[in-house]
């Protein structure tokens, strides 16, 4: 009741509305417009017409409405059909009046209905928003608005753009508008041949997708000279696109390599340095990923920082589990590789089922922090995804920290001593059992850290570890057992090889080819890329 009363008052207050001023960004609109009522009544298929009418009626005053609608947050109150905006998500949903922004705390989810939106409508809304934003204050918003309109050029838009082109101060936006004008001029058949040809000439250094689409259409133009020029421009554009595609592919390879590196680096210690075949390595990764999930559950309002808590937490959880496994099982099977393999395989199954029982067999949702989502756009055809970029840097950082630890610290010295000659180390007073436990804990802890990174890329479920265990062993064996540098080189080699094979052979065959290559390679060089030399080799 309260809400309705406020709303009635509100409508009354707003009736003598003033037209919004674009520069202030604050819009005042007539909430009682009959067009707005249409929103709550029209069928989805008839909505595009309503959008057009709304644009004609309110223009930029309706910008917040269009944005809310596009985001799927536009609702209306069932009883009086007034529009409200949904705030928040999940269980903490609240509503506020559209336009005025007055909170409506009494409104329950059951009392409102969503104003539907589908793909067709989203496209429509986007172009309407773009048209409105052509006069935005922010130059990057203007540029994005022009880019959005590239695919939807018509006489009206061109008229507006021509006016803006003269006034525009920002060079980037000016260039983008010029591209749009050229694109339209090139495809407009009423223009003379020379105008069209020079327009195509101007387009030939643009990498915009819509420009390429436009030129592709022009290659079938009835005017032979225009078609030939479009073809020529396309060839030169495509050459540049190909070059960037190569860079893209290299980045994909490095990124896959970094994932392989993270997954296998822990194994490089437990298997490579200690010589334990640990089939439960994948489950250590899984535990790390689940730790990330639990950490996010505990701090739901600070997802952006949760990763920084999750990294040490995952290291501890997986590391402690590793120490436990080493003390209880592996140390009793010393020097019996076959039994170790079977025992650790059993542990891996136990851990999987344990997770299934505790967390359910369904995948768990791990959110990506906002600073990790999206991509770094270098130009229209080359953009590097941020999460992959961070993970690449993170993998290298972990690797360097580990190398330092093994080379410079006393633990590292002990580990190397024990792995080279256990009896001699024992004779020198090294507590080999303690070193074994610590080394295994370290390897497992790093697997846990890898789990934190992988939780950002793939499913967090009981089977997470299984998909990485084979790859991890492959990398360690290929790189040379017991050699961290080898693991680094092997991970990136395999990653890049895989990504360069994939476009031609498909993902399934690429994986097979890489495996076949490794088998052949191991035949030739059984000790991997960087075999250990000297006494350590025995």
């Amino acid at each position: 009741m309260n809400a309705i009363l406020t709303l009635c008052l509100l409508i009354g207050a707003l009736l003598p509305f003033s037209v919004a001023h674009a520069a202030t960004g604050e819009a005042t609109v007539q909430s009682g417009s009959p067009m707005l009522l249409e929103l709550t009544k029209t069928k989805l298929s008839k909505m595009p017409a309503v959008v057009e009418k709304l644009e004609a009626e309110g223009g930029d005053a309706y910008l917040p409405l269009f944005r809310t609608w596009l985001a799927g947050n536009l609702y209306y109150v069932k009883s009086n059909r007034s529009l409200v905006e949904k705030m928040g998500s999940g269980k903490q949903v609240t509503f506020q009046a559209m336009f005025s922004g007055d909170p409506m705390p009494d409104l329950k989810k059951k009392q409102v209905k969503k104003v539907k939106v589908n793909n067709k409508l989203r496209g429509k809304l986007r172009s309407v928003i773009a048209r409105i934003q052509l006069t935005s204050e922010d130059s990057s918003v203007r540029e994005a608005a022009v880019r959005e309109l590239l695919a939807k050029l018509d006489k009206n838009v061109i008229g507006i753009l021509e006016g803006l082109h003269v006034k525009e101060q920002n060079l980037d936006v000016k260039a983008m508008i010029a591209t749009a004008l050229s694109l339209y001029a090139a495809s407009d058949k009423s223009n003379s041949q020379s105008v069209r040809l020079s327009a195509i000439e101007d387009l030939s250094d643009s990498l915009e997708n819509d420009v390429r689409n436009g030129l592709t259409k022009l290659t079938n133009d009835s005017n032979k000279a225009v078609a030939a020029a479009a073809d020529e421009a396309l060839v030169s554009i495509n050459q540049r696109v190909e070059r960037y595609a190569l860079v893209d592919q290299l980045f994909f390879g490095l990124s896959l390599g970094s994932v392989l590196l993270l997954a296998s680096i822990g194994l490089a210690i437990t298997f490579g340095v200690m010589g334990v075949i640990n089939m439960a390595h994948g489950e250590m990764i899984m535990l790390g990923a689940y730790t990330t999930y639990v950490v996010q559950l505990m701090m739901p309002n600070h997802i952006d920082y949760s990763i920084w808590v999750a990294i040490p937490a995952a290291f501890l959880v997986s590391g402690l589990m590793g120490v436990l496994i080493e003390r209880l099982v592996i140390c009793r099977l010393h020097g019996r590789p076959l039994e170790t393999l079977l025992a650790t395989f059993g542990i891996s199954l136990i851990l999987q089922q344990l997770v299934r029982t505790i967390f359910s067999p369904l995948n768990r949702q791990v959110s990506t922090p906002t600073w990790m989502s999206g991509s770094l756009e270098i130009n229209p055809v080359l953009s590097l995804t941020l999460n992959r970029l961070y993970i690449l840097a993170f993998a290298l950082l972990v690797f360097m920290a580990l190398v330092l630890l093994l080379k410079k610290s006393s633990l590292g010295l002990n580990v190397r001593a024990v792995s080279q000659n256990r009896n001699m180390a024992k004779a020198m007073g090294v507590k080999t059992e303690w070193v074994d436990a610590m080394t295994f804990g370290l390897g497992s802890g790093i697997a846990g850290i890898a789990g934190v990174a992988l939780s950002q890329l793939t499913n967090v479920g009981p089977n997470l570890g299984q998909s990485y265990i084979i790859d991890s062993f492959m990398v360690v064996v290929f790189g040379g057992v017991g050699n961290l540098m080898g693991t680094l080189v092997a991970a990136f080699t395999l990653g890049i090889a895989n990504k360069f094979l994939e476009p031609t052979t498909g993902a399934v065959l690429a994986a097979i080819l890489v495996l076949v290559f490794i088998i052949l390679f191991i035949q030739k060089r059984p000790k991997g890329l960087f075999p250990q030399k000297g006494r350590a080799a025995e």
Binding site: G123, A245, F252, L386, N463
Partner: protein
């Protein structure tokens, strides 16, 4: 409070566990053959719970033919050969009267020889590739013409799609479905170079280059869509990568056949909003039957956040039809129930009535939905009436002339209408 409910839940489940084997022999046994461990546990445990819920409901109504129903749950552990062994165990040792089970096609194929040899009865509740009709199996999920073909029609007619990416996981369901779709698209005049087919291994997680390929394929000036038969787990990284590379559902919509409410409940749906799925059921459909079913399900699982999905509706329909057929036949004898099944009608949860056809497939409505930010689907299109499930595709050269008809005089799962002969092959 919470501890109390938990304790009572444990006590209850303990009670059922003890109660089951101690029941008298005079019960009707319902076998449940769904993986409770291994990779498929993620999807199949839900269906096990659905069957248990249905059994409980039926017992509340007084059971069937004056007897109580008793569920016999086994765990084939996502291990395909084990499905055959467990079926044999259910039919010979437990002597169950009906089995509800299987998810993947390969598990069903593994069960078929056993269930035909021992003359059992199975209900299969998942959308599948078709090209099969067994006397002993009822298919309550969608055949390709009840899911894939309408989805393609929607994309073509409503969204004006001209270029097609058929992406799938590398196993029998996507391969066969894509073969049917490719033939169908070519029939409609789509050129070879406008179709891109891509297969990836199970659980594929590195989608960077494939998504970038799809993006390139879609930048040719023609509206492009992805028809995805990518299996459960691999979907999350796929959609995440689409979002990361900035491909929105307006640029290149993805219509999926294996992504339902259950799969969406495990992920952040923001990058998926606007992508599509084709099913015969959505939880969001507002009907009285559906509301009742959802309330029942949430109460049964004691979890107010649990979602329902299409294979659950298929299980629901299958179970109700079986119960009615047993009542009609007056016995649980497989041959009698099989004949009584044909022509059975039972209400859909989405409104209307599902009918069991002579070919052991259902007539059901087809819905296309857009993914919303709350993990639910918004129905954007549906077929006018129901679509009859087609056991043999009309678009594949080998199966064009085949029909399945389990009534007299044909009584055959693969009857060739040209040569007027039954191939004699069992399934």
């Amino acid at each position: 409070m919470k501890i109390k409910t938990l304790a009572s839940a444990i006590a209850l489940s303990g009670a059922t566990l003890i109660a089951l084997p101690s029941m008298a022999a005079d019960t009707i046994k319902v076998g449940v053959l769904h993986s409770l461990s291994g990779t498929m546990a993620i999807s199949e445990t839900t269906l096990k719970d659905t069957v248990l819920m249905m059994v409980e409901e039926q017992n509340k109504k007084g059971g069937l033919l004056g007897k109580k129903l008793e569920a016999v749950v086994v765990d084939p552990a996502s291990n395909w050969p084990l499905f055959a062994e467990k079926t044999r165990e259910l039919l010979t040792e437990e002597e169950v009267d009906v089995i509800f089970g299987c998810w993947t096609s390969v598990s069903r194929k593994s069960v078929l020889p056993v269930i035909e040899e021992l003359n059992g009865l199975m209900f299969y509740p998942v959308q599948y590739e078709g090209e099969e009709s067994s006397k002993n199996v009822f298919y309550t999920g969608a055949a390709p013409n009840q899911q894939a073909i309408p989805a393609v029609n929607y994309l073509k007619d409503e969204l004006g799609v001209e270029r097609w990416v058929l992406a799938g996981t590398d196993y029998v369901y996507p391969r066969t479905t894509n073969k049917i779709l490719e033939a169908y698209l070519k029939d409609m005049g789509v050129a070879e170079e406008d179709i891109m087919i891509n297969y990836t291994p199970f659980g594929h997680s590195d989608w960077q280059s494939i998504v970038s390929d799809i993006n390139k394929f879609g930048s040719a000036g023609k509206k492009t869509a992805v028809v995805s038969t990518i299996n459960g787990d691999a979907n999350v990284p796929f959609y995440k990568e689409l979002g990361n590379q900035g491909i929105s559902s307006e640029d290149i919509p993805v219509v999926a056949f294996s992504v339902g409410e259950e799969e969406l409940s495990g992920l952040d749906t923001t990058p998926l909003v606007g992508h599509l799925a084709a099913w015969n059921y959505f939880q969001s459909v507002e009907t009285e039957e559906n509301e009742e079913f959802i309330t029942q399900w949430k109460a049964f699982t004691k979890n107010p956040d649990r979602v329902t999905n299409d294979p659950m509706e298929a299980t629901f329909i299958g179970f109700n039809m079986w119960a009615n057929a047993v009542k009609d036949a007056g016995t649980t004898d497989v041959d009698a129930v099989e004949q009584a099944m044909i022509g059975q009608e039972t209400p859909n949860l989405t409104g209307g009535v599902a009918v069991m056809n002579k070919n052991h497939h259902l007539s059901k409505p087809v819905l296309i939905g857009e993914i919303q930010d709350d993990g639910q689907f918004e129905t954007v299109w549906e077929t006018d009436g129901v679509v009859a499930g087609d056991a043999w595709s009309d678009f594949l050269p080998g199966s064009k002339d085949l029909i399945a008809d389990w009534t007299d005089p044909v009584k055959c799962g693969n009857y060739n209408t040209e040569t007027k002969a039954c191939s004699g092959q069992n399934y």
